[in-house]
Symmetry: C2
Subunit: 255 residues, 2 copies
DNA sequence: CTAAAACTATGTACGTCATACGTTTATATG
DNA sequence: CATATAAACGTATGACGTACATAGTTTTAG
């Protein structure tokens, strides 16, 4: 773990690592290892066994090298994690240019949502500074395009993009953490859906009246959700936000 | 780190830990230690030196006990973290009953935003399942009240609450990670604001057209933001969402 | 063509961490 | 009072990140 004041040149290192212009012509043996290879191995390990299984030693054996060899290409595990997260994010989807704001945003959000569910470990990688990775920035850029095209000002587009990123990230964080099943002592597995019931019995309706009221609300059937459409838990909020955004640009167009 | 399938009874333990009905009358020596004391010590350490400084040994010495004594009251560090996060969150603010939806939500979001900035380490605590802590549920309940009062259906209120929680969480995560200052090799510290410029020079405007366009947008002066009012980066999105929510309930009221 | 310089890969070693386990000590119940 | 039981402690283990010294390899300077 990097201490807080050793952030010194980590940032510079992040940048040169992430944007490494492939240079060659130095002395010493040709390196058979590289940042890319290491990052890809890290992604493979995290995909297979999760973030907690991702150790330098594990990556090294995965690649068939000694543990310390990695440090010839990567200054620390923290930095490697950052690179791995960017690599794992992959390229954003191409958005249909003919689509309107709502369609574009929904498509973007759906893709990000799907990505977070394919690689939940990305959500566990600690965020140490503003996004600077090529892929992270590409995702941001893709979202900004329809926002700007819809007529938002620069600052507004930035804020809207931040809002949407945060929503998908945060919702996915909660959603993926609830995905696992638990085994009770009696051996019967139960999901987080039941968890709500357990909690419902624990809490005093006097202290949590709204929670108790909402608890009765039926949970949407997850199987009825088509792929490509946002699930209700995410879609409702995004749609309300888009309603507000659209009327904002409409009012703006009048003045 | 807890492996993914050892989640077995962790959940049960979480619940009994978090909702511990104080029982007394067992054998053995009176325990001078308790979950609450340990959690409070953990909060103190994290407040002082961050999450990465929070070790069992550190907490123990902080309290003047041996490391292993803690395990008489807490089954694992993961669980302790969960409790500490709930304790650190504290009680939600009392919302003005006379306030309308927009005012209430803004007040709630502002309080949560402030809380995350006071204790950034809470955002680093890995989310292992749906919120079950007394304080976490209290925050949720407080938000649900005005949403229900405004006329939202149960499922809608839940989705809206999730949306808002995710937004504040996610935005704060990015905001607090940018709060630190970095020292460059030349010794001149620079903030993440400059970071944008560094990146701006790295990227190819062809690949990131929208980013480049937005980059010119002036950054709001942070000092001009009054306390109690949401900062623009958070407020713009929340306001657009509220616009959409309000028109949603208005249309609903007609049918 | 040689030798120095620089870089890669490896092995060893250290400090820190969470936590399993055994021992001692104090207490409440029979 | 005796005994079961839990609290606190000390020691020990295995995994981890990574500093450092070494050996080996390739490029470049003379």
């Amino acid at each position: 773990m990097t201490t807080r004041d050793s952030k010194d040149s980590d940032l510079e290192r992040s940048l040169t690592l992430l944007w490494a212009g492939r240079a060659r012509g130095k002395r010493g043996p040709r390196s058979r290892l590289s940042v890319e290879l290491i990052a890809q191995a890290a992604v493979r390990v995290a995909d297979a066994d999760g973030l907690e299984a991702l150790s330098m030693q594990r990556i090294a054996t995965e690649l068939g090298y000694s543990t310390m060899s990695l440090y010839n290409h990567v200054p620390s595990k923290d930095l490697l994690l950052e690179v791995a997260a960017d690599v794992g994010a992959g390229a954003p989807p191409e958005l249909d240019d003919a689509a309107d704001l709502r369609q574009s945003v929904r498509q973007w959000a759906g893709a990000l949502w799907a990505g977070f569910h394919r690689r939940p470990w990305i959500l566990r990688v600690p965020l140490d500074h503003a996004p600077v990775g090529p892929n992270q920035l590409a995702w941001l850029d893709r979202l900004l395009r329809p926002l700007l095209a819809a007529g938002l000002a620069g600052g507004e587009a930035r804020a809207a993009a931040l809002h949407l990123t945060a929503v998908v990230r945060g919702t996915a964080q909660i959603s993926t953490s609830m995905a696992g099943e638990y085994k009770r002592d009696d051996g019967i597995p139960h999901t987080d859906a039941d968890l709500t019931h357990v909690v419902a019995e624990l809490i005093d309706p006097e202290d949590y009246p709204a929670l108790t009221a909402v608890h009765a609300a039926e949970v949407a059937d997850r199987r009825s959700e088509q792929p490509g459409v946002l699930p209700f838990e995410l879609g409702f909020g995004v749609d309300r936000f888009l309603d507000g955004l659209e009327s904002w640009v409409a009012d703006r167009g009048v003045s």
